[in-house]
């Protein structure tokens, strides 16, 4: 048997995830600094690629970037950034829970839209005191998201269907089911015109604003969720088992951590968090669900934010703020004659660059750790 450590380390996603455990490695400070530096480098690379893209297509990267930078001084834009980052934090956290055990929840999109409809409808049908009403709606949203996500978990555990395929299929199925439920049962028929919605939620169930009309308290819930994620994943026994199942599922099984239970649990938690994605809109802005009023596409955006934030809560919050900021600049960009869709292209390229640079950094860090260990222990095992 040959024991050359350089060939046995898992790379890919598990390698990426493994490095993120805070405070568990020798020289973890230097490791963290290296990863932060490499992320910044990756963002810089991505911005340069976008600059080239702009140049090639006859637009001025200088105009684009200076417009974006100027926006950073505008306090309204900064509030806009916080507002836009709220759903991203939820979505990315939901995705990251799955990633921790190498489970790809690509179905956040369907889960949160389904949850938004169910929670909006449930919230409009009850009357409760102020705080309890909000809590009730949030709990219903989490339950609905978890329910939809659990289908994929069950299909994986009992029918061995890969969650990537099942969550994608369930996204499309969710859209159908939502449309059917909405058209036939939940639509508020008193509303005329195109902007159809569910019945408006009573004031007791409306999330208060932090800054009038610009930011509501769901942002704080998002931050709290990220914090809870940290405790759950890095400090709790459940989190340890979750990560163990991701690092080495066979070893986890041998250690008595049942893979089936972990898969179901991870999907339920992921779906529950996903259920909160659109709540900033449902109970904070429109106070109802509506096919055109409730925002879409945050499920996929969450994947990119989770990757950019390396599945760590602090990273996710920073990445969500960055993406929220970039999104908030699109209106200004259009004024400066730069197609605002470049913002989304930029985000995709940033994620691709970060993932690539991460992979290279981890490889190098791992090789260095192994070498240092050899030097320190000086155990010369041949072949």
């Amino acid at each position: 048997m040959t024991d050359t450590a350089t060939t046995e380390r898992p790379t890919g996603l598990s390698g990426l995830l493994s490095r993120i455990t805070t405070g568990s490695n020798a020289g973890s400070l230097r490791t963290s600094l290296t990863t932060v530096a490499s992320s910044l480098a990756a963002v810089a690379i991505a911005l340069s690629i976008c600059a080239v893209l702009l140049l090639v297509t006859g637009k001025s990267p200088v105009d684009a970037y200076s417009t974006i930078l100027e926006t950073a001084g505008d306090s309204n834009k900064l509030l806009e950034m916080l507002r836009r980052s709220t759903p991203l934090i939820f979505s990315a956290t939901a995705v990251a829970v799955g990633f921790k055990m190498n489970l790809f929840n690509i179905g956040v999109e369907g889960q949160y839209l389904f949850a938004a409809l169910i929670a909006a409808e449930a919230g409009s049908r009850v009357s409760l005191p102020a705080v309890a009403h909000i809590v009730f709606i949030l709990l219903v949203a989490m339950a609905a998201g978890a329910l939809w996500a659990s289908i994929s978990g069950i299909l994986k555990v009992y029918r061995n269907i890969h969650e990537v395929i099942s969550t994608i299929m369930l996204n499309y199925i969710a859209l159908s089911v939502i449309q059917w439920l909405f058209e036939n049962f939940f639509r508020d028929d008193t509303v005329e015109g195109l902007n159809v919605k569910t019945t408006i939620i009573a004031e007791s169930g409306q999330m208060p604003d932090l800054v009038d009309g610009r930011l509501n308290a769901m942002f704080l819930v998002a931050l709290a969720t990220a914090g809870a994620f940290w405790v759950l994943v890095y400090r709790s026994r459940f989190g340890f088992r979750l990560r163990a199942s991701g690092y080495n599922p066979n070893a986890a099984e041998v250690a008595g951590i049942g893979a089936r239970r972990m898969i179901i649990a991870a999907m339920l938690i992921s779906g529950a968090i996903a259920g909160l994605v659109a709540m900033y809109s449902v109970i904070g802005e429109t106070y109802a669900y509506g096919p055109s009023a409730t925002p879409t596409q945050f499920g996929f955006a969450g994947i990119t934010v989770a990757l950019l934030g390396r599945n760590h809560p602090i990273g996710i919050v920073i990445a969500a703020l960055l993406f929220g900021f970039l999104d908030s600049t699109s209106a200004v960009l259009q004024l400066a004659d730069v197609p605002n869709s470049i913002v989304k292209v930029m985000q995709s390229i940033i994620v691709l660059a970060v993932v690539v640079v991460n992979e290279a950094t981890i490889r190098r860090l791992n090789a260095r750790t192994a070498e240092q260990m050899r030097a320190q222990t000086d155990s010369g095992e041949a072949s």
């Binding site: 790379t11 990426l16 297509t57 006859g58 059917w180 990757l307 869709s341 292209v345 993932v355």
Partner: protein, 414 residues
């Protein structure tokens, strides 16, 4: 390889299908179940899914998952529409292939060169393609007549269609041959009418592009199983270590496989933008890349299987399009097929199978008798539900490439 061995099974499936459909049609009076119109629509709707499935197959046969097919198809729709708008439909298809290959190339570089996770790379490519073509539209289509950020200007010419002479009234020179199948179909005789309808659907008004796509099925099988290139390509998906130890350049083969995969996906996208319609529209792919992946899985990673899977989706979509009210007839179809399965279960003394099949018969019959109309919103999800059901019931008998999805670094063999 074992086409001959498989032939009888395919024939059995087809005979069961036609006879059952014929019974259902006569019973329910839904003539569109096997009409040439439905089958023609089925063919048009099958082709893009088929190409997406083959794209998945080529990628997984070299050992790499391709979740980015959807994105590569999106690139195909955009570049295809652009090329067709500027230079005509055939050049458009070439543009579409090129667009898909860009996506395939990105996937190859990020997973092979940089070793990033294959699923992540695919997901990012989907996003990049979706937003990238929006950006490109803003540059190329905005301000053009009928063009905009989410739509291209319409193309002025289309790819030709043909009718087969004598069978479906095709023209020879200036003379229109008799439409034999069409006549037979109109009589509506039991079985004969159905066969005629199906055959006419496949021979009447067929786009040359569809023909090319269908030919790609045996071509893929031939290349993968009969040529040196194909053997080496598959070896990369089965055991890259042994391939490398025998001097196969696994890295190069993987790049080639992904570029071919991208080309197939791009062609599928191009078909949507040039043949199925005459312009690019945002969201035109509508998840067909993902359905293609599903057909690859239940086609058991074989080209003919992919064709079969794609046809199931194409048919369910085609029927919905041509005669949405006939869909309840499918409940009866399912009930009869399940009843046959229950009988074979009894013959083989498999209690579980018999009971499961009997349960399906009961549910399907109940649905047929009680449901008058399936809501439009729910029928949209039919292909996706079918995918999950098929995966859930057939996944035990599947034989994927042994190392699909497992990253490989050259020199890691010991």
């Amino acid at each position: 390889m074992n086409l001959l061995q498989r032939m009888p099974r395919i024939v059995t499936i087809m005979v069961v299908f036609v006879v059952t459909m014929s019974v259902v049609r006569t019973w329910t009076g839904f003539d569109d179940l096997t009409s040439s119109g439905t089958i023609g629509a089925t063919l048009r709707l099958t082709v893009p899914i088929l190409l997406a499935g083959l794209a998945g197959l080529w990628a997984e046969r070299v050992g790499i998952l391709n979740i980015g097919i959807e994105g590569m198809m999106i690139l195909g729709t955009w570049f295809g529409a652009f090329g067709a708008w500027k230079f005509g439909p055939w050049v458009g298809l070439l543009f579409a292939i090129g667009g898909g290959m860009i996506g395939g190339g990105i996937h190859a570089i990020s997973t092979i060169r940089f070793g990033i996770d294959q699923v992540i790379s695919g997901v990012v490519i989907n996003l990049l393609a979706f937003f990238g073509v929006r950006y490109l539209s803003e540059l190329a289509f905005v301000g053009q007549p009928q063009g905009g950020i989410s739509q291209s200007p319409p193309q002025s010419s289309a790819i030709g269609r043909f009718d087969v002479p004598f069978l479906s009234g095709g023209r020879i020179g200036g003379w229109t041959s008799p439409d034999i199948l069409g006549n037979l179909e109109e009589r509506g005789w039991f079985i004969i009418g159905d066969v005629a309808g199906i055959a006419r659907g496949l021979t009447n008004g067929v786009s040359w592009a569809s023909l090319i796509a269908i030919v790609l099925v045996p071509l893929s099988a031939w290349i993968l199983w009969r040529t040196t290139f194909g053997l080496r390509l598959r070896s990369s998906g089965e055991s890259p270590e042994s391939a490398e130890s025998l001097g196969v350049n696994v890295i190069r083969v993987r790049y080639q496989g992904l570029l071919i995969s991208g080309a197939f996906a791009g062609l599928g996208g191009g078909f949507l933008a040039i043949v199925s319609s005459s312009y690019y529209r945002q969201g035109q792919t509508a998840g067909r890349g993902f359905i293609g992946l599903a057909t690859m899985i239940f086609g058991n990673w074989r080209p003919t299987g992919v064709l079969g899977g794609a046809a199931v989706f194409g048919y369910s979509e085609g029927l919905k399009l041509v005669a949405g009210n006939s869909i309840t007839g499918l409940f009866l179809f399912i009930a009869i097929v399940a009843a046959l399965a229950a009988v074979t279960g009894l013959v083989r003394a498999s209690m579980r199978r018999t009971l499961a099949a009997a349960a399906v018969v009961a549910v399907a019959m109940l649905a047929y008798l009680t449901v008058d109309e399936v809501p439009e919103s729910l029928t949209q999800s039919l292909p996706y539900v079918i995918t999950l059901v098929v995966l859930g019931t057939a996944s035990q008998r599947l034989r994927p490439p042994a190392r699909a999805g497992v990253p490989y670094r050259p020199g890691s063999a010991h």
